[in-house]
Symmetry: C2
Subunit: 86 residues, 2 copies
Amino acid sequence: MSLIDLLFGKKTKTAEVARDRLQIIIAQERVKAQGPDYLPTLQKELLEVLSKYVHVSMDDIRISQERQDGVDMLELNITLPEQKKV
Amino acid sequence: MSLIDLLFGKKTKTAEVARDRLQIIIAQERVKAQGPDYLPTLQKELLEVLSKYVHVSMDDIRISQERQDGVDMLELNITLPEQKKV
């Protein structure tokens, strides 16, 4: 199974979710536990960068964090706003 | 199988790769193909944000792009520099 198969969880192809989605995953593998932790800062900066391009509210962002075998994973799931017709 | 199991590919636990690694995955699911494409811009900005925190050279970054079933995936694999002893 490839990584892309697992993105966005199970694929929902129904009409209700016909909105663009963006998923950002930041994973950090640290050899020594005392190394610097970039994740909290990167998360903040990422949201700032993102907010320059799309108007997302915090309600549209699901953030989850996981830790396993020395890998810290931060997952941001963003439902993008519908495109305004110009 | 969970997402975190697939990060960093197959786990290499040998001494040679005893450096911290960072992986950033940006995936975009577009309902309509003509929606805006954030990936190239986000990639550029992400690297800029990252370069504020760690001194990585482009040689330490492997970038791969994949497209499958309406999902564009951009994967950045970064080998972090060794920590200087202070």
